[in-house]
């Protein structure tokens, strides 16, 4: 301070002082706005009951958007969506009793059972749900419910001439360098491999998986649609993917890339040797344990079982509705009559962990 006093009244001093305070003001303003911006979105939702319903979903939001819009239009209940790709369980568990989650939506039987096991769901006793969903597609304790069915099928090059197929044949050496498939660790493949264990036992499945691995035309990666694209691109001849993707691609806008991929493939419903059935997985829903808007949540779940919502599952998602009497989309129908495998999904789910370990053991993704 002493040193400053010498030129207390100088222009120079005034300038530094003025500038310093201006700088301080600017910095202050910066932090003030930072704080404001940081907490402004905080009041976005509350775990207190409102005329809303909070949906936590691992499903891509756009796929379910049509059903949710229809629900809001019919009931004037607003649906807030959180798209949680992974970590749904961890998140709901951590949020605990203050979780905003009302409805939990996910794909794959294993994920649904995980929700139950993690004790983040509660049972729903709804006549509507129980009547609409066949008993084998909901839990016996009413704590999860299937919404739609998705079969895992064979995409074959249209010129390949394949008419029918068994999952077991994927390891046939005659398909060497011709098979495309997504990561073995993906839940869709894990479920299929688990079903294979349930059918043929662990040892046979390991041999099979090694065979499939040596037949791969490329790394086991990408999505199910890439199978169709890579078949068009000449990388592979056959591949495993979910049927609804083929439905989407085959009904994409004429002239679009998607349509070209879809047109390059023929969909064959493969079967297991023992049962002659095709592997079918589910997408499903559960009521969150601490649901703050329980009534609305149940309304939403029941709405998803209505004919209108189930028809949307068929026509916008190209999945099989679980409710009897709701028609499948025509494109999907053209793939043939689905004969679901008789092995119960709850049985298949038991081998999920083993399947995942097998994928590591044979180095499927390497």
């Amino acid at each position: 301070m002493k040193f400053h006093s010498q030129h207390l009244y100088s222009k120079e001093h005034f300038k530094t002082k003025y500038l310093a305070s201006k700088k301080a003001f600017l910095v202050g303003a910066l932090y003030a706005s930072t704080l404001f911006l940081a907490f402004a979105p905080t009041a976005s939702f509350a775990a207190t009951p409102t005329n809303e319903v909070n949906l936590y979903t691992t499903r891509e939001p756009k796929l379910i958007a049509p059903m949710l819009e229809l629900f809001t239009a019919n009931s004037s209940i607003k649906v807030n969506t959180v798209f949680v790709k992974d970590g749904l369980i961890e998140r709901v568990k951590t949020e605990g009793t203050k979780s905003g989650a009302d409805v939990l939506m996910t794909v794959d039987i294993g994920n649904l059972l995980d929700l139950v096991e993690a004790q983040v769901v509660q049972p729903v006793n709804s006549k509507i749900l129980n009547e609409a969903i066949p008993a084998y597609l909901r839990s016996s304790n009413n704590d999860w419910f299937a919404l739609s069915l998705r079969d895992r099928v064979l995409y074959a090059n249209v010129g390949s001439g394949i008419q029918s197929f068994e999952y077991e044949s994927l390891s046939d050496p005659k398909f060497k360098g011709q098979v495309c498939i997504r990561s073995g660790q993906h839940p869709y493949n894990i479920a299929l491999i688990a079903a294979m264990i349930a059918h043929n036992g662990e040892a046979a499945t390991e041999t099979w998986l090694r065979g499939v691995k040596s037949n791969l035309a490329r790394k086991a990666t990408g999505g199910d649609r890439n199978v169709a694209r890579d078949i068009l691109g000449g990388i592979c001849n056959i591949g495993i993917a979910n049927a609804y993707y083929a439905g989407q691609m085959k009904s994409a806008l004429a002239g679009s890339e998607q349509r070209a991929w879809g047109d390059a493939i023929k969909v064959i419903q493969p079967t297991f040797k023992k049962t002659g059935g095709t592997f079918v997985n589910i997408s499903g829903v559960a009521l969150a344990k601490s649901s703050p808007n329980r009534e609305n949540a149940v309304k939403l779940m029941e709405f998803l079982m209505s004919d209108a919502a189930q028809a949307l599952y068929a026509d916008t998602n190209f999945e099989y509705p679980v409710k009897a009497g709701v028609k499948v989309n025509a494109v999907i129908e053209s793939f043939g009559i689905l004969k679901p495998d008789t092995m119960p999904l709850t049985e298949v789910a038991k081998y999920r962990k083993r399947a995942s370990e097998l994928v590591d053991q044979v180095g499927f993704d390497q």
Binding site: K2, F3, A20, L30, Y31, T34, L37, A38, F39, P41, T42, S44, F45, A46, A47, E60, P61, N80, T81, V82, F83, V84, K85, D86, G87, I89, E90, R91, T94, E95, G96, K98, D114, S183, Q185, P187, I190, R218, K219, T221, G222, G223, D224, R225, N226, R229, L232, G233, G234, I235, Y245, L253, Q258, A260, K353, S356, E357, D360, D365, Q366
Partner: protein
Amino acid sequence: MVNVLKHFAIFESGKRYTFAAFVVAVLVCAPLLSLMFEAVQGSIGHWGHLLTYVLPHALWNTILLLLGVGFVVTFLGTGAAWLVTAYDYPGRRFLTWALLLPLAVPTYIIAFTYLDILHPIGPIQGLIRDVLGYSSPREFRLPDIRGLWGAILLMGVVLYPYVYLTTRFMFLTQAASVVEAARVLGETPRGVFLRVALPLARPAIVVGVTLALLETLNDVGAAEFLGVKTLTLAIYTTWVTRSDLAGAAQIALSMLFIIVFLLHFEKRARQRQRYSLVQRMRPMTPTVLKGRHIALAWVLGVIPIAFGFLLPAGYLVVQVFKRMGQQTGFSTSLIQASFNTLTIASVATVLTVTLGLIVAWAARRVRDSANEQSLGKLFSRLASLGYAVPGTVLAIGLLGPLLLIDQGIEWVLGLAQYKVTTLIVLGSTAGLLMAYVIRFLAIANGSIEAGLARIPPSIEQASRLLGESSSRTLWRVHIPLLKPAMISAALLVFVDTMKELPATLMLRPINFETLATLLYGEASRGMYEEGAVAALMIVLLGLLPVILLARAQQRSV
């Protein structure tokens, strides 16, 4: 307030910063500790499986990937830096900032655009077939880019700017006198580069390479798209498909060793910078190029820009235009997501740089002879660990600590008879912000620490002798001197936050989408062409800070 606090020894002027750094270090370590807790609970049986079938291969892949990316970024980054500092030719200034452009392209975007561009039915192979007279990809196609090589090249081509940034700065500020001396003594241009400039720039190169490699380690998207099973991906699948959080935590922690090693390497490299010349900050006189050498310089300079930016960004632009007709251009969700992205990235940047400054200040060298490991240094190292943890893992690790904070808030507010019904931190963007700060603090801290290292302790000593307090010295002397370092730190943090995906996916509150999550949503439907708009927005929004960064560097010299 401050006067009261002064009574406590720890708040005594300098110590206040040490204490603040301690708090920050605790914040950063909290998710790691919670992971450790998780890992200990895991069964040994699982560990056996991972050790036999997963880790060896994943570790080997990761090491190869790191070596490969390290080589590519060193080669491209150093070469590019030399090209724009040692030579002069028309367009040099343009190349100088254009070489930073790939920084705006996240690894997951580069991976999926190249998968499209280079696909047998994509534009490039189509063109090749047309030229060669083939009609179907079944007759002729190039090898698949999915694999380790593809990953190395693609990541290298967008991550080299980290090396370019640090190395160019070194060449500009440090190299002049030695390079000129070497030239006068008759060294060939090649010799000047290999024998003088390169050894001189080694610390800067290591710092840049470390950043690039940490980015590589964090990546999930590109590795997944390209089918490279890295450690990070192994963590991810262990957690997601086997619901084995403990196993994932175990791999994550073992991965920390690689990271600690990298960071240690980086610190050592930076310590050498101390012997650099501080006073003489002037750029060297570049050699003026003529004739075909100009063309050669241009070709060399444009190659990384073309592969790292022009090609992917151009492809996205084409895709967006193609879809303009089919869909309504800018949806409200896209505008909202852009706004969210900009807001949260700005806030995160301010917070991160501020904390980075505090931590770096606590760890600064006060005396020339100071060699001992101060507490501040230790905290600063700990505070840098967050960058090393892949976003996904960080997010899981943070859930527990965030909940604790929420419970703390609830307890405090409960004392004030206020009933809390929401999760204040976990249910808002605050939790997400914390994740960003933890993750990117290393960038801010590193950059500012490097800046501080260039300021001789004598400057602070002079200020203190003249009666200024430690804080006032920081405010009046060091911050003005650190401005370039802080600006580049801020811009890097901003770009990185904007691109961040995995932690954002896990921690964002209800109805809060950023461009990255929007793009991921589209991409995970397998409709990633429709995500082209979001991808392009990320790239475009990233461009501005990148250009500012280039300008800031230009001015600071």
